[in-house]
């Protein structure tokens, strides 16, 4: 199992140096994805999901971001120590990301076909093929068809502003598909779309990675969708993972107080009712609480929770939880 990891983040710390001071955002992230595995990543807004996945591709803006410690392995190679050239190769042919906001991720002043074309060109270059304009065109049409866009030719000649939100989302999926041979990172795909279209997009994404055997990291607020799509789920809170388990286990038997609160806040999954929200707020990263960062909001908090952050405890098959409540087992 260990050697088959495509992503292995160990104890990652990331700060942001901003005007107000230093925000200590990632606080010892441990996160793994096996080859071919489909992993979900859930957690409240601002808990550091996007920061975690961006660091995998080393595309965090530095500064303001600064890696304070930890290691990131991608297919066994240390991303933080990779040469610029190797990083480039990795981005061109093995890993890619669907950004959270597809409208912002598309360049507004270039045609869609032009933007996809460049990605194809450098992907092929990395694979050792010099590719002609016609072949680029052909491949662009093909990848647009894969994301079920009607009339690819017309679409290629459009600027992003001429397209609907759903179309832009599909375009950014198409772009990511070109170079996501081994790993696809999808950051809240479809969040800004209405529920039916979001559903379609997620299902499409699921089918695409299924067909290709690509690993996927799916960040989503749509817990229902996550449930149906991924093998394993990580729950993140204020800069670190608090629980990880197979999807079934996590939803049937959530252990961490935060996970329980999160599920309770989402009524659809547990069967009706009004969302209660989780009492309290995510901590201020300028001066986060010591120990377990959830302790100020946790009804089970003990003195030790305020002193040291709990390690991951193994509880059952592949179920891990970072909470002292389970330390004795």
């Amino acid at each position: 199992m260990m050697s088959e990891m495509i992503v292995d983040i160990r104890d990652l710390y990331v700060n942001f140096n901003i005007y107000e001071g230093v925000t200590r955002v990632l606080n010892g992230v441990n996160f793994r994805v096996a080859k071919g595995e489909k992993v979900g990543l859930i957690g409240e807004a601002g808990c550091g999901k996007t920061t975690t996945v961006k660091s995998i591709m080393k595309i965090l803006q530095m500064p303001p971001a600064e890696v304070m410690g930890g290691e990131i392995y991608l297919e066994g190679l240390d991303v933080l120590k990779m040469s610029q050239r190797d990083l480039q190769m990795m981005r061109r042919k093995t890993v890619s990301m669907i950004f959270q906001d597809p409208t912002a991720a598309l360049n507004p002043v270039f045609k869609v076909g032009d933007q996809i074309g460049d990605i194809i060109k450098y992907n092929q270059l990395a694979l050792g093929n010099k590719i002609s304009k016609e072949e680029i065109h052909e491949k662009t049409v093909q990848v647009l068809k894969e994301v079920q866009m009607p009339d690819p030719e017309r679409l290629m000649n459009s600027y992003p502003i001429q397209l609907s939100g759903g179309m832009r989302q599909r375009i950014s999926i198409a772009m990511a598909l070109v170079s996501a041979t081994n790993l696809l990172i999808a950051d809240e795909p479809g969040t800004n779309l209405d529920v039916t279209i979001q559903d379609q997009v997620l299902r499409l994404l699921g089918d695409l990675v299924e067909d290709r055997g690509t690993s996927i990291i799916l960040i989503s607020h749509a817990l229902g969708a996550v449930k149906g799509l991924v093998d394993r789920v990580y729950v993140m809170y204020a800069g670190s993972m608090v629980e990880a388990a197979n999807t079934e286990d996590l939803f049937s038997d959530p252990l961490h107080p935060y996970t329980k609160a999160l599920f309770k806040a989402v009524p659809k999954l547990t069967g009706g009712g009004i969302p209660m929200g989780i009492p309290g707020r995510i901590p201020n990263y300028l001066s986060p609480p010591t120990g377990c960062r959830f302790n100020p909001r946790c009804s089970h908090a003990k003195p030790e929770c305020r002193e040291n952050a709990p390690p991951f405890y193994q509880v059952g098959d592949g179920h891990e939880v970072a909470c002292y409540l389970y330390g004795g087992q």
């Binding site: 803006q61 890619s96 507004p108 002043v109 990605i119 450098y122 502003i161």
Partner: protein, 341 residues
């Protein structure tokens, strides 16, 4: 609305703007105190001669009647007679325009390319030593008006260092190439006289740089600001995440959106250079429209003043339309608006 319709619409509205401008400048030129006829003929001229010229110029009639005479003639291609050169203002403009146009084009090419290079490199490496040098220099550049640059450069590069000539378009003794376009750089090449080309080029350097240095600084600053803004956009990070080479990102994906605000002010700057050339041409004794306009003002040569101002107005209107078209080409969002509205 398609682009052709849009241009037609803009041309028509420019026509009204120019009409307004002509009313304004015409009235001003007639209301300014001082008798143009007396000035033209000199203090020694007999009164009857002055009166005759006044009558010839319709100066005794109400301003609106004078204007009607003037407008009627304009549509016949006649801007009236210059009181100084005693030739048609239209002919004068035709003769002096190429020198100014050449200077403006030269300085526009210079400032545009430098502004983009400086703005992009300093924006891309924001807060580096290079960026700070560019920023401080451009503050200085903006703060100092062009006539000060002109005088300083005459002194330093012309007088102390003797690198560049400071007067006119050609050295004395150099024979003008046969007039084809009126642009010496072009005409000398057509005539195959490289020595003249070189001489003309050298003569353009000091007036050309004085004319644009503060605009160049302003354009560089605006380009820098928009590069810095776009540098952190998601689409740049996305391009990077797909392994697009940094060069392509800068020269393609970053450059094009960043040029939009620059182009908007560049158009105004080009048109403004025409006006700016008044003082610079006078300092460098450049035989262009600016010097012509300047001497017209000093001698109250009313027809020449109105003619030159109107030409600059036409130039502004034209640049305005051109800028809007280039902006629409660069920015599909604006193109949509043109098409849609």
């Amino acid at each position: 609305m398609n682009i052709k319709k849009y241009v037609a619409y803009r041309l028509i509205s420019s026509f009204f703007v120019l009409f307004g401008l002509s009313l304004l400048i015409f009235s001003l030129s007639r209301l300014v105190p001082g008798d143009p006829a007396r000035l033209a003929l000199g203090p020694m001229a007999p009164q009857w001669a002055v009166d005759k010229l006044r009558a010839q110029l319709h100066l005794d009639e109400p301003v609106y009647i004078q204007y009607i005479y003037w407008v009627t003639n304009v549509f016949r291609g006649d801007l009236g007679q210059s009181l100084v050169t005693r030739r048609g203002v239209f002919n004068d403009i035709f003769e002096f325009f190429p020198a100014t146009f050449e200077l403006v084009i030269f300085s526009v090419i210079l400032s545009t390319s430098l502004a983009i290079i400086l703005g992009v490199t300093s924006g891309k490496y924001a807060n580096s030593l290079w960026d700070n040098i560019v920023r401080v220099t451009s503050y200085v550049g903006i703060a100092i008006p062009s006539f000060v640059w002109a005088i300083m450069s005459v002194f330093i590069f012309g007088y102390l260092l003797r690198w560049f000539p400071t007067l006119g378009r050609l050295s004395s003794g150099v024979v003008m190439p046969t007039k084809v376009t009126g642009l010496l750089l072009v005409d000398s090449l057509i005539a195959g006289r490289l020595g003249v080309f070189r001489d003309a080029f050298y003569h353009m350097i000091l007036p050309g740089t004085s004319l644009v240095i503060s605009r160049l600084a302003q354009e560089a600053r605006i380009t820098r600001a928009s590069v810095v803004e776009n540098l952190h956009k998601d689409y740049i990070m996305a391009a990077r995440s797909f392994g697009i080479p940094e060069r392509t990102i800068t020269l393609k994906y970053l450059l094009k959106p960043s040029l939009i605000p620059t182009v908007a002010i560049m158009g105004m700057d080009i048109a403004g250079s025409m006006g700016g050339s008044f003082i610079v041409e006078t300092i460098f004794n450049w035989p262009g429209l600016g010097r012509y306009g300047m001497s017209a003002m000093l001698s109250n040569d009313i027809n020449a003043i109105v003619g030159v101002v109107m030409l600059i107005g036409v130039f502004f209107a034209f640049m305005n339309i051109l800028v809007d078209l280039i902006t629409a080409y660069l920015d599909p969002r604006i193109m949509m608006k043109l098409r849609g509205g």
